[in-house]
């Protein structure tokens, strides 16, 4: 492929804040799974039903015909997830319920069971996420990146063609983001990450006193906890696609752009701007 000029694609602010939230989200995810393990079930409403059932998701260990199995329940449907969820790795056979691990050691920070340390890590990196997202918003508003990122009407018109190109693995390397890229990044930056922060704040009894209306908006504390988990899953899916796209579009060029800012564009005529 003939090469086009090298352009400056990302400002310093975009690059620094990107690595700020990427590192923060990495630790938030793994410490979040640690925290989840302390009470591995998700409910709808204000409270967790003990005398009644309002659970939508749970991971546990149960005895099936005398043998301990890891069981994951989604909307009342059970799945045997022994080896991955509920019972995994070092979980000892014949263990008492309560000694099982919902998410395995390989997916939690720290690797051993520690709600206290998991919480310390989670809240430290929550500040990292909030600060990098706020810094991104301020700098992007000032340097015009926000206007560029926001999907315009013409972006929406070009969306089907862009989608079709992506499905055929045809990637365009221009100085600007494509329509699909803009839409995805906007979803992450304006919906998923703020949603993550707001549902997380609703799990704080202190914050509930400050903003009871937000708790009502999310449908109660346990619903907020369920949403916090769901958005996490959404971000994991985004992350997998994000990395796949980078690999497909040319990892060296893409990585250079988000580290140094410089990006090799396609030769003239290669992209259909």
């Amino acid at each position: 492929m003939p090469k086009g000029p090298l352009v400056r694609r990302h400002s310093l602010a975009t690059r620094l804040t990107h690595w700020g939230w990427a590192i923060s989200l990495f630790f938030l995810l793994l410490s979040g799974l640690q925290i989840f393990n302390a009470f591995p079930s998700l409910h709808i409403g204000q409270e967790s039903g003990f005398d009644y059932d309002n659970a939508v998701f749970s991971i546990g260990a149960e005895q099936v015909q005398g043998e301990w199995r890891g069981i994951t329940r989604v909307f009342g449907q059970s799945f045997d997830t022994t080896g991955y969820l509920g019972l995994s790795g070092e979980s000892i056979p014949g263990l008492k319920p309560g000694e099982f691990r919902a998410f395995p050691a390989a997916l939690t920070v720290p690797s051993y069971q520690s709600l206290a340390l998991g919480r310390s890590v989670h809240f430290l990196f929550a500040w990292g996420l909030v600060i990098s997202l706020a810094a991104w918003l301020i700098f992007s508003a000032l340097n015009g990146h926000l206007r560029h990122l926001w999907p315009s009407l013409s972006d929406l018109r070009r969306l089907p063609a862009d989608l079709w190109d992506h499905l055929r693995f045809r990637f365009h390397h221009s100085v600007k983001y494509g329509p699909l890229q803009k839409l995805t990044y906007a979803l992450v930056l304006f919906v998923a990450l703020p949603g993550m922060i707001l549902t997380g704040l609703c799990l704080s009894p202190g914050f509930n006193a400050a903003a009871p209306w937000l708790l009502d908006l999310f449908g109660g504390r346990q619903t907020a906890r369920t949403l916090h988990f769901l958005i996490m899953l959404g971000l994991v899916v985004f992350f997998i696609i994000h990395i796949a796209m980078i690999l497909l579009a040319g990892p060296i060029n893409e990585l250079r752009s988000i580290v140094t800012g410089w990006y090799r564009t396609d030769a003239k005529g290669e992209h259909h701007e």
Binding site: F36, E47, S48, S111, L203, S204, P205, R221
Partner: protein, 254 residues
């Protein structure tokens, strides 16, 4: 393709080792301790500024759909407690001591004769679950008013009957502390009734704390006495509460 494979391998190795990166951060001498301390201080400051003296949400009778799930100690067994329990807590005296002008010794009847408050609130456990129940008790602020804290007093420390840990070095009774801003908050109660019945033993009889804007472990059960102090350094291992001494946050508003 080669680069891609290398990159993938590297990323996978990073993700897999991620879980062990902070395994050492739980040790008391870990370099992460002061960093966590700073972030917790920031959280405390931000929440104080944001919340002020706002009230925790309150619910209605219709929201009480189950009993209050007991957690932690549910049946203290010290001789002192058993003797009080067997006497129906008639001989129980709540002592208020420390930096006060008028040390107090109050029976349950004394407390019940004071103006009381009833509130239906949600109890959030640090583990992640929540439970709604109705609590009735004497606002801590009214008790403090009688005891008249000195100007130097900054914290209210709760000494409890229940032994939370038995180790070679002896028995450790539960202890917890709150600052005076929380102590004077109208929803902060010394509760003696739960869901219209005398406070059950599993939930902290004869007297427990309700601190509605923080997590469950702050709400000391089986209160033996309250001490007003200007420092938490002399309590337990110096972090201000049984669980704070075990790595949990002293400020548990989140």
């Amino acid at each position: 393709m080669n680069d891609r494979r290398k990159f993938l391998l590297g990323a996978t190795a990073f993700a897999l080792s991620g879980c062990e990166i902070l395994d050492g951060a739980g040790k008391p001498d870990s370099l992460f301790r002061p960093v966590f301390g700073a972030s917790e201080g920031l959280t405390h400051l931000a929440q104080r500024g944001l919340i002020g003296d706002a009230l925790a949400p309150e619910y209605t009778e219709a929201d009480i759909r189950q009993g209050q799930r007991p957690n932690g100690s549910t049946n203290p067994e010290t001789a002192e407690y058993l003797a009080l329990r067997d006497g129906g807590f008639r001989d129980y005296r709540l002592r208020v001591t420390g930096l006060v002008d008028r040390p107090l010794s109050l029976s349950l009847a004394d407390l019940r004769q004071m103006p009381d408050r009833t509130q239906i609130t949600r109890h959030d456990c640090v583990e992640g679950w929540s439970c709604i129940a109705k609590w009735r008790g004497t606002p801590l602020g009214l008790v403090l008013e009688q005891a008249m804290p000195r100007l130097a007093a900054r914290y209210a420390v709760f000494h409890c009957f229940d032994v939370a840990e038995r180790s070679l070095s002896g028995e450790v009774a539960y202890y917890e502390s709150i600052d005076l801003m929380d102590a004077w908050h109208p929803q902060t109660l010394l509760a003696w009734e739960m869901n219209n019945k005398a406070l059950p033993i599993a939930n902290g009889a004869p007297l427990r704390l309700r601190l509605e804007r923080q997590l469950g472990y702050k709400m000391a059960k089986y209160i033996h006495s309250i001490e007003l102090t200007d420092t938490l350094g002399l309590l337990g291992q110096g972090q201000g509460s049984y669980w704070a001494d075990r790595g949990y946050q002293w400020y548990a508003g989140i």
